[in-house]
């Protein structure tokens, strides 16, 4: 119970931070232009340095070892297992987003993969062409109209925003499976998620390495790539400015010029 109260306190603090960051300094124009809002850059950079150290010393070698030693189908099996565990929580989020159809797909995938997919290690749902779904509470907040907030890099987790950080914590403490009566292993979802992330880190090693270790400023690269990809993911849900942002790749040249009108024009110099 004490765990729960402290998590709630953290959640409240993060929500407050998100609200403050979300409406304090970012102007609507900045938001529309899709600029990067990073008021905690100094702190973020320290956390980035820490995360990079952990990756280099532990996570990267462990992940590379994991995908080398463990046969690929088993790695995929564990990833499937972790994904399957997330479906009940996703169903809840879809409902909160007013999206019953996707909620049903998430429930259907969970039932099918848990039974025919042997506890979720296999993914018969995909073989039956049931569409993949992927959401989280960060997206729910987006649908509810919360802005992205500030960019934050979370320790041991990586790039996020204040809004998505609230989502990560909320999802972690409200996972319906966590309240089940039968819980064979405490925190099994967390272990599964770590394995899934190791599988991804190992399988996409070249890509991640090129960002973390091949770049002149890995912090700036990770920030830009995360924010753009997250905005792209959310562009199809809710009614944020992100929709317009992706719909027109020229949105950043909203001064009426584009790279061709004046190649020397700097869209950020306004």
């Amino acid at each position: 119970m004490r765990y729960l109260t402290s998590s709630w306190r953290l959640l409240c603090a993060l929500t407050l931070a998100a609200l403050v960051a979300g409406c304090a300094t970012k102007t609507p124009e900045q938001r529309a232009r899709g600029e990067i809002f990073d008021p905690y850059e100094n702190t973020n950079r320290s956390i980035h340095a820490f995360n990079r150290g952990v990756d280099k010393a532990i996570f990267r070698p462990a992940s590379k070892g994991y995908v080398t030693v463990v046969p690929a189908p088993v790695v995929t099996g564990f990833s499937n297992f972790a994904e399957n565990l997330s479906y009940p929580g996703q169903a809840l989020d879809f409902l909160l987003q007013g999206n019953p159809r996707e909620a049903c797909i998430a429930v259907g995938r969970f039932l099918l993969n848990t039974t025919y997919g042997l506890a979720g290690f296999f993914d018969p749902a995909s073989e039956m062409n049931i569409p993949r779904v992927d959401t989280n509470f960060g997206e729910t907040l987006h649908v509810w109209g919360f802005g992205e907030g500030a960019y934050v890099e979370l320790p041991l987790y990586g790039p996020s925003t204040t809004r998505d950080a609230v989502g990560v914590v909320t999802n972690a403490i409200t996972n319906p499976l966590g309240f089940g009566i039968v819980r064979p292993v405490e925190n099994i979802g967390v272990y599964a998620e770590v394995l899934r992330r190791m599988g991804d880190r190992g399988n996409f090693s070249d890509t991640v390495d090129s960002i973390l270790y091949g770049s002149a400023d890995s912090y700036a690269q990770a920030r830009l790539i995360y924010l753009q990809n997250r905005r792209f993911e959310l562009a199809n849900s809710g009614s944020g400015s992100t929709l317009d942002l992706y719909a027109d790749p020229y949105a950043e040249f909203d001064t009426g010029t584009d790279v061709y009108d004046d190649p020397y024009e700097d869209p950020y110099a306004q």
């Binding site: 993949r132 399988n203 070249d206 890509t207 090129s210 091949g214 770049s215 002149a216 400023d217 700036a220 690269q221 830009l224 790539i225 753009q228 990809n229 905005r231 792209f232 993911e233 562009a235 992706y246 027109d248 790749p249 020229y250 950043e252 584009d258 790279v259 061709y260 190649p263 020397y264 700097d266 110099a269």
Partner: protein, 202 residues
């Protein structure tokens, strides 16, 4: 839904169409939806051809660079990646930077060609944008979930060329502009030093 799978036939057709265009005087150079699609098909076919050649990695990177120069509007991409510094750079600096940028990009992405083995790009839709066309497509790479790739094509350079690409929403040119900016900062804004170092970076 219109879908356009890369095939040898379409590549040959495009090549013949290109030949025809060279022989018959055209009224005006105009970018159309079909030609934008054909361009994507052609590039993918070219890249797969290089991968299938089984040459050494360095020889392949040289080939990729040739493909890059032929199909992409390298000067405008380089200028954009350089950002505000392009304004103060001299003509010869810009020229050398463009060359350096071209080999940097070819090396950085060409080195990872293995991920593209047997790759297939399906064009899903095209749309007119200010500078030309936006081509939305799905990329299918072996052992990976399909992902969305968007190409931007323009004929403002005088011929139809790519000038940007988005992978799952990530703007390639903007990412490179951030990277080049960071490299310049590391060198205290010394563009000549960057030009010297760039071909070995990435």
């Amino acid at each position: 839904m219109r879908s356009n799978t890369i095939s040898r036939r379409s590549f040959v057709m495009t090549a013949m169409a290109g030949l025809g265009a060279g022989l018959v005087p055209m009224p005006a150079l105009a970018l159309t939806e079909q030609s934008a699609r054909a361009l994507v098909d052609e590039v993918v076919a070219n890249i797969n051809q290089v991968i299938a050649s089984g040459k050494s990695q360095n020889a392949m990177i040289k080939d990729f660079e040739r493909i890059f120069v032929r199909y992409a509007d390298v000067p405008i991409m380089a200028r954009y990646a350089l950002g505000p510094d392009a304004r103060t750079a001299s003509r010869s600096q810009l020229r050398s930077f463009t060359k350096a940028f071209q080999s940097y990009i070819s090396r950085k992405y060409g080195r990872r060609f293995r991920e593209f083995v047997g790759g297939r790009v399906e064009v899903k839709s095209t749309r007119k944008i200010k500078a030309g066309y936006e081509i939305r497509s799905t990329a299918y790479l072996q052992g990976q979930a399909p992902f969305e790739v968007t190409f931007l094509v323009s004929d403002k350079s005088g011929s139809e060329k790519f000038f940007n690409m988005f992978i799952e929403g990530v703007n390639l040119l903007l990412t490179e502009r951030t990277e080049i900016g960071a490299m310049l900062d590391q060198r205290k804004g010394n563009l000549d030093q960057l030009i010297k170092d760039l071909p070995n970076a990435g």
